[in-house]
Amino acid sequence: MELYLYIALFAPLVGSLFSALFGMSPKTNITGYIASGLLFTSFLSSLVLLNYVLGGHTVHVELMTWMATGDLYIPFGFVVDQVSVVMMMVVTIVSTVVHVYSVGYMDHDKGFNRFFSWLSAFVFSMMVLVMSDNFAGLFIGWEGVGLCSWGLIGFWYHKESATWAANEAFIMNRIADLGMLIGIFMIYWNVGSLQYDVVFAEIGNLPLVITTWIGIFLFIGAMGKSAQFPLHTWLADAMEGPTPVSALIHAATMVTAGVYLVVRANPIYDLIPNVGIFIASLGAFVALFAASMALVNRDMKRIIAYSTLSQLGYMFVAAGLGAYWVALFHLMAHAFFKALLFLGAGNVMHAMHDELDPFKMGGLRKVMKGTFIMMTLASVALAGIYPFAGFFSKDLILEVGFVEHHYIIYTVLLLTAGLTAFYSFRLVALIFHGEERYKLFGIHPHEAYKFMLVAMSPLLVLAIIAGSFKMTYYQLVTNLLPSTVYHVHNEVTFWIMTIGTQLFVISAILFAYKKYSNWNSVPDGTSKMENSFGYKLLWNQYYIPKFYEEVFSKPYLELSKIAWKQIDLKIVDATVDMIANAIYKTGENTRDIQNGNLSTMLRWMVFGLVVLLALAVAFTVGYNAVSA
């Protein structure tokens, strides 16, 4: 089984290095094929491992030592257990699909080879992240995905907005990574090891206040990767990257790393329910907060990005309330339908020559039947309609909130579910229904390559049927995670809740259709709604990016300039030069003493004699006075 583990882990790396070899040469299809093929190999190996783990085994290997000094010992260790195998399946499935899709999507891009190199490197980092058996290894993957995300957001580096977004994402993640690093330091100095098994066995013996801080610092790390408030702004800006990247990294895998961390560290978070409540509350807040911004946005990818943010909030609610398996389940289901949604959006973008404003589209269902069906079904799954994947995972989170008696969280999530349905179908209605507004802009849309649609189809299938895995999945992961069943015991309440939620969501969908499916003009910023305060607030993302710009970015640059020009040059360096000059000047001014003129020298000699005599007298008197 170790062999399969290494294949699953290293196949993407090989793919990445292979593509990197051709990174600077013009497009060669072979890189795309090889990289995709290796990803598929990785997927098959993961499948073998899944089968093995289903049989009740786990695989744990240690490749070699990484860092060892003092009492610190960190190996490159990898573990395939019930939790990591689920993540491996999600990562390899989505990334295989995205790789194949990208062969078509990036067809005309001159950075084709470079793209596959980065994309496979990302998958490798993600595999390291989920498979590591210690916190340091997790951190390698953690930073690795950050690097690849930087490279892929800024893939079209000639665009100012893209490179800006790439740097923003990297730096924001770094802020959170500092928290994570401190958490790791705390674990090491209190437990003496960074291995999961040792840490989780020992964590109960630590004072609660230490455990609490560890939990908080690790969660700060999670907040960065999973773009939780207040570190959320980078995710929407990250949509500057190519759409397959958004599908893989900024929807399905990397952004869920934070959730994975909390799930993985469940023995820590189990001990500190107060932190858990905070996580859940923040999650609920982000769910609503992000959904509200999605309501008015006019950028197709940003709407989906906000939706991702909102769904991450759901996952954190579940994880924070101790329902780790529910969080992981939603993570999995979400990965499938959200990646599908993004890839669909990619097709639309291609058809529309990179136009992102859904108000400039309309009626595309006639020319893009396949994409239309896929995106609609993905949206249905996202909205959580029975029997699609979202119903099983998202409804469960609502139930968790209800069963755990957090009614405020429950209400917020319920409301958010309605908003989710509304903005998802606002998007679908604007893109695929109504008048063909794109004709005003002289665009001739076309459906994507057939193989791209075929590549997407596994995600479609999974988005529809993922709910049926629930029992198998539950039995699998609860070997490792707390096996609490969240069920509303009162039969009547249960049915009222379920049906009520469904009706609420369906009415939100119908409302969205009614409002937007017959849209016939492109808003130009003059309508009453567009000038209302609420709309402007949401349109400007609550003015948070502007706030960060004014309060952090600009002052930091100003302060840096002051530090250089005022402090470093005018104070620190000037002082040094002043001392040097003072010495130089003293020499310059006193050189007259030795100018060789006899009378001057005699005068100085007399002066010196007087001073010496005076000193001698003073010392003698003083000495006598002391000794007497």
């Binding site: 860092m67 003092g70 340091a136 951190f139 690795g144 930087w150 740097n167 500092l178 470093d568 040094v576």
Partner: protein, 515 residues
């Protein structure tokens, strides 16, 4: 021959430099490469012959110089100095091999070989006077390199560099003389041997004064805030090769000396000054990172980033535990590799455009993709990404200091954020965007000579990031013995508590037993 390998390592380049005067101009380059390559192979042989299990000094050589005052020609290496010596020979080789300078090439190579002698000498010396002689001698070739091959302000920069560091060293020399005097008072004998000094337990107030005297000498060399202002001038005016050697090796003399002198000789004073120094380290990390962010000249960004990274090294050194000190020694090597590579990279673009202003560039990634890739890798190493060489050192340094103070480490950890800010924004200004300046449209990508220098550095930066064990192991053993020595020598209860006792672990061979 292996018994005298250190003498050979020190004087072979000097001898070769003198012979270099008779070599013809045209073959000088080949001669320089050959000599520095042989020297590098000799240093690798040293590594091969070095026994990593022994923590004490190896290959010791001793010859009386001034017996009346106990001054001996005393050499030896342990895990700490071994790799810095290899780094010195490595960089001299790479530097000469990738030299693009055309003016007075012969003199430049001779100067570099002399400089190599002084560098190896500093790190191999175990006698304070011998150490001091090499320490001061190293200023001369660098003064010459900056003064003769530098930019328009070269005279100002080189004199500033010389006088500033020289002043510091004189105070250090006074400290050394006092130390010898105290040794004489305590034992009745004269000795300048560092190893003998290690055994001397000084009263705490003596330690504080001596620590301060040594500190000024080292701090100016490192350079620590607020003594750092000579560095931007020196880097700004120095030719590429000068900056590379200065950043990669010469700055390490200061941090190395802290580990070699201050820590084992003055354990109580080290604990006493731990927090003030940590505060200075934080200022170095954050303040100079901000200054780096404000720079308009790419070389100055790298220069200030050096100061910022040296702050992390200082912090690791004064963690006073094995994790921190090992990390800081490793980070010395890491920073040498990465900053040396970055200065080489800056040199590449300077050779082509004769400007270092970032506003002159933009969109270079599309014109020079190989250059952009190597620069990107080195930038990410500088930012401290895991699996690059810098991460190991930074992680261990910060991890070590966390044991001493949570808040200070949390503040110092901001290094990973501010470091990313100035590096990424500089990279963006240089490489991203579209080519707007016509002069950049047809730049040639890195050529073979340049790759000769850069590729090995990329390999080392990644190899030691993924598998640091061959280097970290010997460092760890030697650091453990220093920490144990410090713990044993410490007198104040606070020092006893802050410096861990490792004696329960069996692998320790104490400094005294080793020879």
């Amino acid at each position: 021959m292996i018994d005298h390998i250190l003498t050979l390592l020190i004087f072979f380049p000097a001898l070769a430099a003198m012979l270099g005067f008779v070599v013809t101009k045209d073959s000088m380059r080949a001669y320089g490469i050959a000599v520095s390559f042989i020297e590098f192979v000799l240093s690798l042989w040293l590594w091969y012959a070095y026994d990593p299990m022994v923590s004490g000094m190896q290959f010791m050589e001793s010859m009386p110089l001034i017996p009346a005052f106990g001054i001996n020609y005393l050499l030896g290496v342990d895990g700490i100095s071994l790799f810095i010596i290899i780094l010195s020979t490595f960089f001299t080789m790479i530097g000469i091999a990738s030299l693009t300078e055309k003016r007075h090439l012969k003199n430049l190579i001779i100067t570099l070989l002399f400089l190599e002698m002084t560098m190896v000498g500093v790190f191999a010396a175990l006698d304070a006077i011998v150490f001091y002689v090499f320490w001061e001698l190293s200023l001369v070739p660098m003064l010459y390199i900056i003064g003769a091959w530098g930019g328009p302000l070269r005279i100002y920069a080189s004199i500033k560099f010389f006088l500033y560091t020289f002043t510091g060293s004189l105070i250090m020399l006074v400290g050394m003389l006092f130390m010898a005097y105290f040794y004489n008072q305590a034992t009745g004998m004269w000795s300048f041997s560092i190893l003998e000094w290690y055994r001397l337990i000084l009263p705490e107030n003596f330690q504080l004064w001596l620590f301060a005297a040594f500190f000024i000498g080292f701090a100016i060399k490192v350079p620590m805030f607020p003594f750092h202002t000579w560095l931007p001038y020196a880097h700004g005016q120095a030719p590429t090769i000068g900056s590379v050697i200065l950043a990669a090796i010469l700055l390490k003399m200061g941090t190395y000396a802290f580990v070699r002198f201050s820590l084992p000789m003055f354990p109580d004073a080290s604990v006493y000054f731990m927090f003030p120094i940590a505060i200075i380290a934080i200022i170095m990390i954050i303040y100079t990172a901000m200054v780096a962010y404000a720079q308009e000249d790419i070389k100055q960004v790298v220069a200030y980033s050096s100061v910022s990274h040296m702050g992390v090294i200082i912090l690791g050194t004064f963690a006073l535990n094995v994790e921190g000190v090992s990390g800081s020694v490793f980070l010395m090597l890491a920073h040498g590799v990465v900053s040396g590579a970055l200065f080489l990279l800056v040199g590449v673009i300077y050779d082509r455009r004769h400007t270092k202003m970032m506003s002159e560039f933009g969109g270079i990634a599309s014109v020079m993709p190989r250059y952009a890739t190597i620069f990107g890798i080195m930038m990410m190493a500088s930012v401290g990404l895991p699996l690059t060489i810098n991460f190991v050192g930074e992680f261990l340094s910060l991890l070590g200091f966390y044991k001493q103070s949570h808040m200070i480490t949390l503040t110092a950890g901001v290094a990973i954020i501010v470091g990313a800010i100035y590096m990424l924004s500089a990279y963006k200004k240089m490489f991203f965007g579209t080519v707007t300046n016509e002069a950049n449209r047809n730049l040639k990508d890195v050529n073979r000579t340049e790759l000769l220098g850069l590729i090995p550095l990329v390999i080392v930066a990644i190899w030691l990031g993924v598998y640091p064990k061959p280097v970290l192991g010997p460092i760890n053993n030697s650091v453990e013995s220093i920490i144990q020595l410090m713990h044993d020598k410490a007198q104040s209860p606070e020092a006893k508590e802050r410096i861990p006792n490792l004696s329960d672990s069996s692998k320790i061979i104490s400094m005294q037993e080793a020879h």
